[in-house]
Symmetry: C2
Subunit: 309 residues, 2 copies
């Protein structure tokens, strides 16, 4: 059995050999079926969130397309839905059920915890003792509950979280272009290494410190020689402050609502946020698959449903 998580930007597969992450931007026509071919011939459990990609006129269109692409390669695949059940055909419940698969997988062993899964693009906040309340939640409802915080480690436009930064004591409103991404901020702050920056940079340029600082300076319409490396670092720091605050608030609310006793973190932001929020990483318990938690989780849940191992 393999587990597959099909996001808008990344395809993640967990099998007996470990985690395989493929950059797969559906809105740019990424060849999902081709990328899945190496995994043909094995039973597969699938979750998705890629149906929201704006190449699809509706979520149902996206679900149909994704299910079709998977079945082309793995005809017997089963798809987990927000109703916590598996399906073999495209149905509305398949929209954005990846986080619920994680909850379903962890809820018994971590009933005292809130899960924070921070990926490239979004952060999922999941009170694990509230499974019945979580079931059926759409992305829109999760935004409202702060269970989905739409910012991540790599792809967030810096200008969506900060409208103005302080530079040398002067408030400086930012450009609203997609000039710099969260990946640039985390790179220059040392939170990630260049090889962790797996999505394209906003300018499709290099993932070096210099290039990231240049992109951050451009957020205030400046070259590095105008505001200095310190100025660009200030942009990064103020973005990070806004991002951390946003995610920390959502986690605090989920903890307080659910009465959870601890926070467990997963995804590529796991270490950073475990440190910041005083949580523990799931990686310590389940290993590197925590970087692709929903893919791991849907496989576990499917194995339990089938009574297999």
């Amino acid at each position: 059995m393999i587990g597959i998580d099909i996001g808008g930007a990344n395809l993640k597969v967990v099998d007996d050999t470990g985690v395989h992450i493929h950059y797969c931007p559906l809105w740019q026509g990424a060849p999902l079926a081709d990328l899945l071919k190496p995994y043909a011939g094995k039973p597969a459990a699938v979750v998705m969130s890629g149906e929201l990609a704006d190449c699809f006129a509706s979520k149902m269109d996206g679900i149909r397309w994704i299910v079709g692409a998977v079945q082309e390669v793995i005809p017997g695949a089963v798809f987990y839905g927000t109703d916590a059940a598996f399906h073999t055909r495209p149905v509305p419940a398949l929209a954005a059920a990846n986080w619920l698969a994680s909850a379903d997988c962890l809820r018994e062993n971590y009933a005292d915890a809130v899960l924070l899964d921070v990926g490239s693009t979004t952060a999922d906040v999941v009170p694990l003792n509230r499974f019945e309340d979580l079931r059926g939640l759409t992305d829109t409802r999760r935004l409202q509950e702060q269970y989905l915080v739409y910012t991540g480690m790599l792809r967030t436009n810096v200008a969506t979280l900060v409208s103005s930064v302080m530079l040398d004591g002067t408030a400086t409103p930012v450009s609203t272009e997609y000039f710099a991404a969260s990946g640039d901020a985390h790179l220059v702050l040392g939170h990630i290494a260049p090889e962790d920056y797996t999505s394209p940079a906003p300018d499709n340029g290099e993932k070096t410190l210099d290039a990231a600082l240049r992109r951050l300076a451009r957020v205030v319409c400046a070259d590095i020689d105008e505001i200095g490396r310190d100025g660009a670092l200030d942009v990064a720091r103020q973005f990070w402050d806004a991002q951390r605050t946003l995610i920390a608030r959502a986690v605090e609310q989920a903890v307080s609502r659910s009465g959870a006793g601890r926070v467990i973190t997963a995804g590529i932001g796991a270490n950073l946020f475990a440190r910041e929020l005083g949580g523990v990483t799931l990686e310590e318990e389940i290993g590197e698959v925590s970087d692709a938690l929903p893919a791991y989780a849907v496989r576990e849940v499917a194995l339990r449903h089938s009574g297999g191992t």
Copy 2:
């Protein structure tokens, strides 16, 4: 004599026959020299802001490339700088001098006014009786003075101006993707017609009411059938409220600082903002060239400098 304004997204030319606007996204490698070929053989005055496009490692790199592309087709072209002088070679002062050309052109006849020029991407706020203070301002300094408000009628990511919208009384944080643009909001609110929406939509889709509503719904991760057309319209209205407030505040500050007696508006947002802010459109005075004010203005200023007509 022709006037040329080379932005990051649009090339605008004013000649004796009127205004010519070419979509010219420099960051996607648009063929600037080719687009200029029909205008070869005429003396030309040029302003630019396209040097900020993130295909250039620095503004000076962008200036060199743009000057080179223009000179390839129009060897005798002159370039207006933020020092209010014309140049024939790439120099740092050529960065983002388009708004100053407008100020230089209008400052005598409209000394009692603040100019508001709202384009596809940005809004320039220019107190016309302050020319000596304006000279030499960079884009970063203009952001700080609120003389540059980096939002426009078409290309602004909705999620950069609103972090949360009210839907049926419930606060709903937004997705930070580039799912909908200001052009979508202005289209569904009736501020622009489909043919005015000249930049690509975020999903490269149609410029219809239905497609724009779909894009706006996606800002809260929803399909239209989840939040209704009214929900999508609510997203548009709340974006517009934020955009109007931002621009109105900048204009009020410039009016109060400069003691100006009136507001004149130009650019594709001229009519909307004249109505909203109680201003008058420059179009009533100079005609359709007000949609390409810096291109018109740099030509006027060059003619005055040369004593020509």
